[in-house]
């Protein structure tokens, strides 16, 4: 297993390099100049020139890239052009927010997706199965931002049960954290629950017709144990992998939901940075997302081996 991890980490290096190249080039291709904002109303050419020199934007783009590469390699991710705050600090502030949201979303997705998936597989072809499928299809087709806005309207504005926006860390105030996180997590979680449900259903259907399920029945085990122990344990193998990948997606892809609920998370950080042409921040955040994704993929691979005895080397 260690050789697998090592191999994956080695492969990650060129991947990350490519990510860096792309984000760097794409960003420079965007119209707009971050320095125009900084130079103020008059846009004094002398000041602009000075700023350009100060930030190294007067150099050729490949040179700029190499400088960034060198800085990143030594652990320096630069600072925000707008606020001057170090990129690492911005990430350190926003990443935990998004992680809390992602964990909550995944929990909700698993709590909904797996039981309904199991149920619709076991009750295949009955009205329960069709109902679960219909709900999951609507879960897949309802856009997150729309569901978010509707929830805010009903739960926050009309019923006044939960705050419409904001964020509290679970480590500061668990109750308030629950109140601020539950709605956006529900919005994100239901979308994923639909995916999980469908995968759980098909994995269960696959497993339920296998011989060892019949063996479990032949032992006299009750149907609940046959399904929840013998079948589900094997059906979960692909589900665990999927969940890990979904978690990686959540870290990067909560942009819209974070915007709707004005959560100061990772997604909001990168959107603001892109709009402001805050090069350093965009680069840092994208790089961090790429690392998170690669890590999640690696964890998925490792988990797959851990929960699958056949792949474990003894």
């Amino acid at each position: 297993m260690w050789s697998l991890i090592l191999r994956r980490l080695l492969v990650a290096i060129p991947t990350l390099f490519l990510v860096m190249v792309f984000v760097f080039i794409l960003q420079r291709m965007l119209p707009g100049d971050p320095l125009l904002v900084m130079a103020g109303e008059e846009r004094d050419p002398v000041v602009l020139e000075e700023l350009r020199k100060l930030y190294g934007f007067d150099r050729p783009i490949p040179v700029q890239f190499l400088i960034w590469l060198r800085e990143v390699a030594t652990g320096n991710f630069g600072a925000s052009l707008r606020t001057g705050a170090p990129v690492t600090e911005l990430i350190a502030q926003t990443l935990p927010v998004t992680i809390q949201l992602a964990v909550a979303s995944l929990i909700i997705a698993l709590l909904i997706g797996i039981p309904t998936g199991v149920l619709s597989a076991v009750k295949k072809g009955t009205w329960l199965d069709y109902l679960a499928n219909a709900i999951s299809l609507s879960g897949l087709s309802i856009p997150n931002f729309w569901l978010g806005i509707i929830l805010i309207l009903f739960v926050s504005v009309n019923l006044r049960w939960l705050p419409a926006s904001g964020f509290v860390s679970v480590f500061d105030d668990p109750v308030e954290a629950f109140r601020t996180t539950i709605m956006p997590a529900f919005v994100l979680g239901t979308g994923l629950a639909a995916t999980l449900m469908r995968h759980t259903r098909s994995a269960m259907l696959e497993v339920l017709r296998l011989d060892y399920v019949r063996t479990a029945r032949a032992k006299g085990l009750l149907e609940s144990k046959v399904i929840l122990k013998h079948a589900l344990r094997n059906a979960l193998v692909p589900i665990v992998t999927l969940s890990t990948l979904l978690f990686g997606q959540l870290l990067a892809g909560a942009v819209l939901t974070e915007q709707v609920f004005t959560i100061p998370g990772f997604g909001k950080l990168i959107v603001d940075a892109v709009f402001n042409r805050d090069y350093g921040v965009v680069q840092g955040v994208v790089l961090c997302t790429a690392v998170a994704f690669i890590l999640m993929n690696l964890i998925a691979d490792v988990l797959y081996i851990v929960i699958n005895p056949r792949l474990r080397t003894t």
Binding site: D211, Y212, R217
Partner: protein
Amino acid sequence: MEAGVSAPTGDVLAVDELTIRFDGHGVDLVDRASFRLGRGETLCLVGESGCGKSITALAVMGLLASPPARITRGRALFQGEDLLSMPRKPLADLRGNRLAMIFQEPMTSLNPAFRIGDQIAEAVVRHHGVSQQEGRARALDVLRRVRIPAAEKRLDAYPHQLSGGMRQRVMIAMALVNRPDLLIADEPTTALDVTIQAQILALIAELQREAGMAMILVTHDLGVVAEVADRVAVMYAGRFVETGPVDAIFSDPQHPYALGLIGSLPSLGKREGRLATIAGSVPPPQRFPAGCRFATRCPFADERCAREVPPLVETSTPGHQVACFKAPLEIHVGGLAA
């Protein structure tokens, strides 16, 4: 321990007119199958693939998936209780306890995610409410009984770490751990190497004698039948065409199909002449003839055979029954078998 070769006292299992239909098929895939099984007795269900042997065995265990299978008729009295009409829970209480089954495919019949010892112990814990510890102790004990080398180590092995023969031993161990009164073995050696087949079969036969349990052995291997059976039931296209003591079936087969089957057995057929075969193949269920289902392949069939279903009738040998209008065949042709 009484060896129940003949006339057992009190049936362990009595199946009456078991009839099974599958949704989407307009025909009974098992049609009024009836048989009895005494204590310690071995009944071999013989026939070609798809003749309904396995379905019959699974139906008795209550393991047929329904839908699509539906048992439309019949009873299966196990020690006096009807397995077919029994509610799920009491039936599950019997299964793996007094009634056990070994399957054809040892490679896929064990759960890949759990250790061997735990999978066996589970059956003990389920039926005897003992601790996991005690369950594992009994699992170890039964693994030794099925002669698995280094049994202690195997307790913690996963199925994929064992060979096919070893896995089948584990399956046998699992079936026998609660000392059942009836063992149903559905082609337990078909998937194994020939050398291993003999070992496994000898093991099953020996354990059966030791425990005095009754056994239904589903097989299409007549060599096996000759070795282990007390009684034989020959199935063709979902019907029992001939049943009786193993000697009677082998020395004096009455049904043309049984005759062909025995005749096609190279080791038993006399060296004179060619290997006998049965012309044609089993028709698909939709095309089963209305009368005797063997009529389309039978050299003796006449109009009545095509029209009427021949009932199982006792021959001159006690306990030997045949479902053929033309039996005994000697009337028609002399020395056809050789």
